[in-house]
């Protein structure tokens, strides 16, 4: 059996669609279940439903064998996991945004983000000292409330940025969903995971 860590929401829906094409069925609709672990009718896959930021934690520690997670989360956490496949859904960008268009970031500005590592690395390459304010959500509120002058956040369509009066100033990272694996579990399940990747690839 292969244990798959997936975040509830959009990524779970898309992942379940791909597995459905492989004939993997669940007794109840997986996107609506209240269970946190759900095994398919054949008993070959158990989906473990977790928060997006916890997918690499489950996989890196071997509590899940494989997982589906955005490249943005991997880039920020740099977990010890193998990257198996670009699943080519969940496209989004990690962007720098502020209240005024084409504003050069002033040194010693404050930048609110869920991605402190990537944000610090970005401003280091720009030789621009900033102070990073770590938030866990509603990042777009930071500039208008005066918490920070800028934000670094994930956006798919730009609609939330626009709705909060923010302008995209630069793109730090283009992200899609990736299939990842625990390097040790990949040894124990080598042929099973290899076969799974070979069946998923043509569907993308």
């Amino acid at each position: 059996m292969i244990r798959v860590a997936v975040a509830k929401g959009y990524l779970l829906g898309k992942t379940a669609e791909i597995f459905a094409q492989l004939g993997v069925q669940f007794a109840e609709p997986i996107t609506e279940t209240r269970q946190l672990q759900i095994t398919d009718t054949s008993g070959r896959y158990t989906f473990i439903l977790v928060r997006p930021w916890d997918v690499p934690v489950f996989v890196a520690n071997g509590a899940a064998d494989i997982g589906v997670v955005g490249e943005d989360v991997l880039a920020e956490q740099q977990p010890n996991v193998a990257r198996l496949l670009d699943l080519r859904f969940g496209d989004c960008q990690l962007v720098l945004a502020g209240l005024h268009p084409s504003d050069a970031v002033k040194p010693y500005s404050r930048v609110a983000t869920k991605y402190p590592r990537l944000t610090e690395a970005y401003f280091q390459t720009k030789h621009c000292p900033v102070s990073v304010v770590k938030l866990y959500g509603s990042i777009e509120s930071a500039p208008v409330t005066g918490l920070a002058e800028y934000i670094v956040d994930l956006t798919a369509t730009g609609a939330t940025l626009k709705a909060n009066g923010l302008h995209c100033l630069d793109t730090l990272l283009e992200s899609t969903a990736l299939l990842i694996a625990n390097p040790v579990r990949l040894r124990f399940l080598h042929s099973d995971i290899d076969a799974l990747v070979a069946r998923i690839s043509p569907l993308l």
Binding site: A63, R83, L84, P183, V184, R187, F188, D194, V197
Partner: protein, 276 residues
């Protein structure tokens, strides 16, 4: 003069009741459990002629970084002693290579050494972590001895009654450079990994002739001193490797006569966690 209060950190009520970072005490019950497991391993190693040695907890940072250029400042636990930067040893192999260069320079024939003790590094959050290790170094033998060392590791894993362990063996000349398989595909494991494999890897797999010792191109070498085979032992109930090892033919020359060498170490933290 400094009083105890001057050493109080930012904990407010004082740091008397906590240990730094991820460092842990060992209580009497844990001590007995660890000693019992260590004895099983050491008895197996000593039965093969490996003699215990010990090196200091502190080493000069320059010595460690010269021998392990990728030991990042971020992951080393450093301190300043007078005018020297010191590190808590992040590894046993480099200090033992130094020990051999200093004290066993004129010894002829193979040298079989084993060790027990902690190593230190910082985790991703920057906390100091102690990992207890037991390992062996076989110095002065060519790659013909690689299989002997691998088979000693199998005896240790069997003596611990770990079930379902595996050992994957790679070679520095053909291993994947990282863990990104998106463009290359998942590296071959088993018979397929032997196609175009270096002679040294082919012959060690053949010499071991053990169903649980399997060639794998995915074995990643993040220790820069390895020059030949690199191997990892795993069990199904632990998400990381429980033992690692490899051949390091260039390291001894940094401290004395140029001698080939091979060794492995067991992560005792992981082993204590997976044993029933």
């Amino acid at each position: 003069m400094l009083s105890g209060d001057d050493y109080t950190g930012c904990g407010g009520r004082g740091d008397a009741m906590i240990t730094p970072g991820e460092l842990q005490d060992i209580t009497p019950v844990q001590w007995d459990q660890q000693q019992a497991v260590q004895s099983i391993i050491l008895d197996t190693l000593r039965a093969h002629g490996y003699q215990p040695v010990s090196t200091p907890l502190l080493e000069y940072a320059s010595m460690i970084v010269n021998a392990m250029p990728n030991a990042r400042n971020r992951s080393l636990v450093q301190l300043v002693d007078r005018d020297h930067i010191m590190v808590l040893r992040p590894d046993h192999t480099v200090p033992i290579a130094r020990l051999v260069g200093m004290h066993m320079r004129n010894k002829t024939g193979p040298i079989r050494l084993c060790y027990v003790g902690p190593i230190y590094y910082r985790d991703d959050a920057g906390a100091c972590v102690e990992q207890s290790q037991i390992g062996v170094e076989l110095i002065g033998e060519s790659p013909d001895a690689d299989a002997d060392v691998l088979l000693i590791l199998t005896q240790v894993l069997d003596a611990l009654q770990l079930s379902d362990w595996l050992i994957d063996v790679g070679h520095v000349d053909t291993m994947a450079s990282g863990l990104d398989y998106r463009y290359s595909g998942i590296p071959a494991r088993g018979a397929a990994a032997l196609t175009d494999a270096p002679e040294a890897l082919q012959s060690v797999i053949q010499a071991c002739n053990h169903p649980k010792i399997v060639p794998n191109r995915a074995v990643v070498n993040d220790v820069t001193y390895y020059t030949g085979i690199v191997f990892e032992a795993m069990v199904p109930t632990w998400g990381g490797v429980i033992a690692t090892g490899g051949r390091y033919d260039g390291l001894l020359a940094q401290f004395g006569p140029d001698r080939p060498a091979v060794g492995f170490c067991l992560n005792m933290n992981a082993i204590m966690a997976v044993l029933p």
